[in-house]
Amino acid sequence: MKEREIVIGHRLGLHARAAARLVQLSTNFQSNIVLFRADSNNPVEADARSILSVLLLSAAFGSKVSVRADGVDEDQALESICEYLTG
């Protein structure tokens, strides 16, 4: 299992377009990928393959998000998801 904390670099945060792209990107990997808000008192978890849960994460521009990948391709998954999220 690999985990990394990043800062959302998309100007409008993880909104419709960015969220849709993230979900499409995540389905390219076999690993389970989970995001959670590192800066929130109420750490909600979001499945990166579920657009509804990604939207409900409500991650605005500049918010801190932890990405956790678990599976055979966790390194590549983490790398490419983090690269996308930081913009």
Partner: protein
């Protein structure tokens, strides 16, 4: 008895005007029959649900490919989000779980699962994201329809032009009904950021949103949606109807003459090139502007990012913002206007901000804020061509003070060895009467000018645009305005400094034609008005408009001017 005319105010989502009868979009959401399913029927019920998902997916795919063909890739991403919801674990799998475990029918399961999700959306602390609730509603509506054996209601036999109204109108409904005599849209809730609004703009359907008083309007009521004035007129009088019918007729002629515009060059009938840029408020719009063929971002209003969420961003995130804008512009030059506070707003103590500390005045009093923004702009300048525009300048002294600060900022960057383009052009807005009268005195101190007609008209005619009791006096065809613009042109033309007109006067075809006639060959308009202005440009003769300007400068009344201009621009 004929009902009397009534005006409902809302927010503009898409420009243009439409006349038609109200068609209330009924909400089939949750008007479904809930029932238990016999244990031996559960598998069949799951299949029924899967069938409806499959059918919905096919419909959406078809819609997406039509949308791509019709409007380009810009709005087809809206459908991506819907397709992803259909295959979402949180959604479809949970519904199937419910059907299986609670032995209930699909409708009931959909209702329960989506109700949970709606509540989660409503708790979000973010306007933009709360709007996304609409996407989910849209999908749920589609699934429920597809579960019924009877197909989606057909509006094919609509006997009249219809204006869709409702608390919300889902984007897919607008798209599906576009060819069936739906000519306009007005909703009680929603914002210009909603997907329905984006869809309306892509389809060039006039739309007003956020007008709660629409709740009293019923299907069949006569309506006019005016997306230029943020207005819905209920039971319009014959006089009003005629006025709008003439406008529609005029626009039709212009549409026919201008043809398809996205890739067409912005040149007049007599081959004079007119530079046409876009006015932008948020970086997301930049990509859309480039997609529809904009060659420059003529005005990027920076105050929206700057005061986003009520707090000021730090320098690093500003640099990031501005470089994203420049990268998305793909080499098209971007004119960043430094923060202008107080536009169209009264300050907390009721003082009219329009006559107070605005634009550059604010920046010169808050040099820390101003310097931070200028440093960020300069640092981003390595990512693409940019220009810096100073708003609300009224004296040459202000301009000298601004130049002093600009020089200090460049010095700081040199000391820190930070890369920037030292040749970024610096310009000023002409939007105060003082600047209009003295722009020639400013010319040696700047590289370019932008003409902000909204404020200029407001100050010249002493009309506060936010005051409903005088707003009808706001008129770009007033001889005072024509003379002022003519004077600005005459003062600036010999200096050779470029001038772009970026106020709303440039966004309405007849008044934009006046600007061309007065000699201004560079305009910048909001995205929604972009197609119609390009169409106007392509359908007029520059030489003829120059002649026309000579005539209208001698006229006495705004009304005469407007009629004369319309007759020329919209000649059949």
């Amino acid at each position: 008895m004929k009902e009397s005319e009534r005006f409902i105010h809302g927010v503009v989502a898409s420009v243009g005007a439409a006349i038609g009868r109200a068609l209330r979009s009924f909400d089939p959401l949750f008007v479904s029959f809930n029932s238990k399913v016999r244990p031996d029927q559960v598998r069949k019920e799951v299949e029924r649900f899967r069938g409806s998902v499959e059918k919905s997916r096919e419909q959406l795919k078809r819609m997406q490919s039509q949308l791509k063909r019709k409007t380009g890739p810009e709005s087809s991403f809206l459908i991506d989000a819907h397709l992803l919801v259909l295959q979402d674990r949180l959604f479809a799998d949970r519904i199937i779980d419910k059907i299986e475990n609670e032995q209930i029918n699909s409708e009931w399961a959909i209702q329960q699962v989506s109700e949970d999700l709606f509540q989660a959306y409503d708790r979000l602390n973010d306007d933009y994201l709360r709007e996304r609730r609409g996407d989910l509603e849209d999908i749920v509506r589609r699934l429920l329809h597809n579960l019924q054996s009877n197909p989606l209601p057909s509006f094919k036999k609509l006997p009249y032009d219809a204006i869709l109204i409702g608390k919300v109108v889902p984007p897919s409904m607008l798209f599906e009904l576009r060819s069936q005599r739906v000519v306009g849209l007005a909703t009680e809730t929603g914002s210009p950021l909603s997907h329905t609004a984006i869809m309306a703009r892509s389809l060039e359907i006039p739309a007003v949103v956020g007008a709660p008083e629409l709740a009293d309007v019923s299907s069949g009521d006569m309506l006019i949606v005016d997306g230029d004035r943020a207005l819905v007129i209920v039971f319009p009088s014959d006089e009003t109807l005629n006025e709008y019918k003439n406008r529609k007729h005029d626009e039709k002629i212009s549409k026919k003459k201008g043809g398809a515009v996205t890739s067409a060059p912005s040149v007049t009938e007599d081959r004079v090139r007119i530079s046409l840029g876009a006015n932008i408020n948020f970086s997301e719009e930049v990509r859309a502007a480039i997609t529809i063929g904009c060659e420059s971002i003529g005005l990027y209003r920076t105050e929206f990012d700057f005061f986003r969420e009520g707090k000021q961003p730090d320098e690093e995130s500003l640099v990031a913002d501005y470089s994203i804008v420049l990268k998305s512009a793909k080499g098209a030059p971007v004119t960043f206007r430094t923060i202008d506070v107080g536009i169209d707003q009264k300050s907390w103590d009721g003082v009219n901000m329009n006559l107070g500390v605005r634009g550059l005045r604010f920046c010169l009093e808050n040099t820390d804020v101003f310097k931070k923004q200028l440093r960020s702009l300069y640092r981003a300048s390595v990512f693409g061509p940019m220009r810096i525009l100073l708003p609300f300048v009224s004296t040459v002294d202000d301009l000298d003070a601004a130049h002093q600060i600009l020089a200090e900022v460049r010095q700081e960057l040199d000391l820190k060895h930070l890369a920037y383009d030292p040749g970024v052009p610096i310009g000023v807005m002409i939007e105060t009467p003082a600047a209009a009268q003295t722009c020639d005195l400013m010319a040696s101190r700047v590289d370019f000018f932008c003409l902000g007609t909204n404020d200029l008209i407001q100050y010249y005619l002493v009309v506060d645009r936010s005051d409903r009791s005088v707003v009808h006096l706001y008129n770009p065809f007033h001889p005072a305005i024509l003379r002022c613009l003519h004077q600005v042109y005459t003062l600036l033309h010999p200096t050779g400094k470029p001038v772009t007109v970026c106020g709303e006067m440039a966004a309405d075809p007849p008044s934009a034609a006046v600007l061309l006639g007065l000699g201004f060959t560079s305009l910048s308009v909001n995205l929604a008005a972009y197609p119609r202005i390009k169409r106007m440009i392509r359908s007029v003769s520059y030489a003829q408009l120059r002649d026309l300007a000579g005539q209208i400068l001698k006229m006495q009344k705004p009304r005469e001017v407007e009629e004369k201009v319309r007759a020329t621009v919209y000649r059949p």
